[in-house]
């Protein structure tokens, strides 16, 4: 219990360290913008896209937990940018941090909520503004199997080739549980961040790759529904695709 409390405090402590650094002179200002795209266009919920099998589809909900967003130094140490983010994909968010001069080799984050914050954790103990609270989680919590829903990707597709924008075939990927946590690490091509400088990073989630993944293709005519329970394998395939869908610009 004590240990868990301590763990809960860690991000806050790290956070306040970052806060202290802000007052130091010479620090660089770094921003990380996270957005979602289809090809090179901004992704928008409600817009009809076509996936690689030729099916038209429309995403209605695409939400995900991103946690422990960090800048990783070349020596392996890291600076925490944000502990927990509830990301509504389609609404880009930008995070800012001040860091001392140094080599920063990558940006790293989890998709989902790490185990120590997921199981046996009670959302009612967080203030409403916290992404893991009852309010902040926006329904991304399983009540009958305690833990957060890491990612929701819901919408409708047209599998029959109908006319117009009448999409009738629902798909829903609700993924969450400890084995589905995914680490994403994106290398930074020029690692040196100089004192008093400003660096802006763009992290893109390529939405088309969620189904048409780098290593696995999910055919929504066959595999269109998982609440993790009921079809754990599909949830795993989805999260594997998701983890490989990010790019750093």
């Amino acid at each position: 219990m004590k240990i868990r409390l301590l763990l809960l405090l860690v991000p806050f402590i790290l956070h306040s360290c970052d806060g202290n650094k802000q007052k130091e002179t010479g620090d660089a200002r770094v921003t990380i913008r996270i957005d979602a795209r289809v090809g090179t266009e901004p992704f928008e919920p409600g817009v009809v896209y076509t996936e690689s099998n030729g099916y038209r589809y429309r995403v209605e909900t695409f939400q995900t937990y991103i946690s422990m967003l960090e800048l990783v130094r070349s020596d392996g140490s890291s600076v925490l940018v944000r502990d927990f983010i509830m990301a509504t994909m389609g609404s880009p968010q930008t995070f800012e941090v001040r860091v001392p001069e140094g080599d920063y080799g990558s940006i790293r984050f989890y998709l989902g909520v790490p185990a120590e914050y997921n199981k046996n954790v009670d959302p009612t103990t967080y203030p409403n503004s916290h992404p893991l609270s009852v309010q902040g989680s926006q329904g991304m919590f399983w009540h009958w199997n305690t833990g957060y829903i890491f990612t929701k990707f819901d919408g409708k597709a047209d599998l029959e080739g109908l006319e117009g924008n009448l999409l009738l075939d629902p798909f829903a990927f609700h993924c969450g549980d400890d084995p589905l946590l995914r680490l994403v690490e994106l290398p930074i091509s020029s690692p040196l961040i100089r004192a008093d400088s400003e660096r802006n990073f763009q992290v893109h989630c390529q939405v088309e790759r969620l189904l048409d993944g780098e290593q696995d293709q999910i055919d929504i005519a066959v595999d269109y529904l998982t609440h993790t329970q009921g079809n754990f394998l599909l949830a795993r395939r989805f999260m594997d695709n998701f983890a490989l869908a990010f790019e750093l610009e």
Binding site: D122, V134, W144, T146
Partner: protein, 339 residues
């Protein structure tokens, strides 16, 4: 500046004094017998009189359901050992649920909740029925807003937990009340643990011997003192289960059809039986075990044809009837409070 400070102090003093005397909180002593271990109560929810009272009021409050018709007490009725007599519970708008409402006796000792065991604390368990669209179908934040309109509940909440009604208070108070639902005073308890040898009749004594025998192995899963091992077993109810049971949280097909062993305390009052309420009487349940269940790859090895005679079946049923705790089901401290 001084004046504001002074005003603030006066205000605090007045606010402090204005707490009516009946809202002074005191620790609540959870009574349990020597044959139960010490319960583990979470540090942030030690039992107090007002926490239990608030939980009791919330338990019977219909603001919990979207249509204001259902409270926890609708499906968990005290006189039926906190079950509802239906095969599967009916929720808001008369929607059928999927499972049989279990007893709420001795939850203070339960290590995990729900039939597949996916909920680790009694506090968290409250979130499940409230948001289940087949049960109460309401978001707990909305419940908080509804309850906050009640001045008395709000002052109880402040006195008990030092904060206004919110999901934290609701989950804690309901858990506090439910931990006071302790059942240990059946004829069997008096016989077994208090040495009152006249408590069980001849048939019940024969049934007790059978129940704890290597032949039936009932006591292996439904043992003392809670009449459950709190573990998950497949008892061969079906060859194919509609409800995945434990597999739902482990994703392991070897857990399909496994359900948390139900406590058999007050079992004569909690018909119908099994996770889906598919058996109406204890006679049916015992006859089922006697046949040895259906074939299923996950069926527990202990579930085998037992070769019980009709008289032995009847003795087992008599023993199960000795597990009723009348003082528990008639305890007035468990009933709704009159305002």
């Amino acid at each position: 500046m001084m004046r504001t400070l002074f005003a603030a102090i006066i205000f605090l003093a007045v606010a402090g004094c204005s707490t009516p005397p009946e809202l002074q909180d005191r620790p609540y002593r959870l009574k349990h017998p020597s044959w139960f271990p010490e319960p583990v109560i979470p540090a942030d929810n030690s039992l107090t009189q007002l926490r239990v009272e608030l939980g009791r009021r919330l338990f019977y409050n219909k603001a919990f359901s979207s249509d204001y018709r259902i409270s926890c007490g609708t499906c968990h009725v005290p006189s039926a050992a906190f079950t509802d007599g239906q095969p599967v519970s009916t929720g808001v708008h008369g929607r059928p649920g999927k499972r049989n409402a279990p007893t709420l006796a001795n939850l203070a000792w339960m290590p995990h909740f729900m039939m597949e065991g996916g909920v680790p604390t009694l506090e968290l368990q409250t979130l499940a029925p409230v948001s289940d669209s087949n049960e109460m179908n309401l978001d707990i934040l909305q419940v908080s807003r509804r309850l906050s309109e009640d001045d008395y509940l709000t002052s109880l909440s402040r006195a008990a937990y030092g904060r206004a009604i919110d999901p934290y208070v609701i989950t804690r108070a309901l858990a506090a009340f439910q931990r006071t639902l302790v059942s240990y005073d059946s004829a069997y308890d008096r016989y077994e643990f208090l040495g009152q040898k006249d408590q069980l009749n001849e048939a019940q004594l024969r049934g007790r011997a059978l129940f704890f025998s290597p032949r039936t192995k009932c006591g292996g899963c439904h043992g003392d003192p809670f009449m459950t091992d709190f573990e998950f077993h497949n008892i061969g109810l079906y060859t194919t289960y509609a409800d995945p049971g434990r597999e739902r949280v482990t994703y392991d097909p070897a857990d399909a059809g496994k359900f948390k062993t139900p406590s058999l305390r007050n079992i004569a009052l909690t018909a119908p039986y099994m996770h889906d309420g598919s058996m109406g009487t204890l006679q049916e349940v015992v006859a089922f075990y006697n046949r040895g269940g259906q074939d299923h790859p996950n069926k527990d090895f202990r579930i085998q044809p037992l070769g019980l005679s009709p008289a032995e079946e009847a003795d087992l049923v008599s023993f199960l009837e000795s597990l009723t705790d009348w003082n528990f089901v008639q305890n007035i401290n468990h009933l709704p409070l009159e305002d």
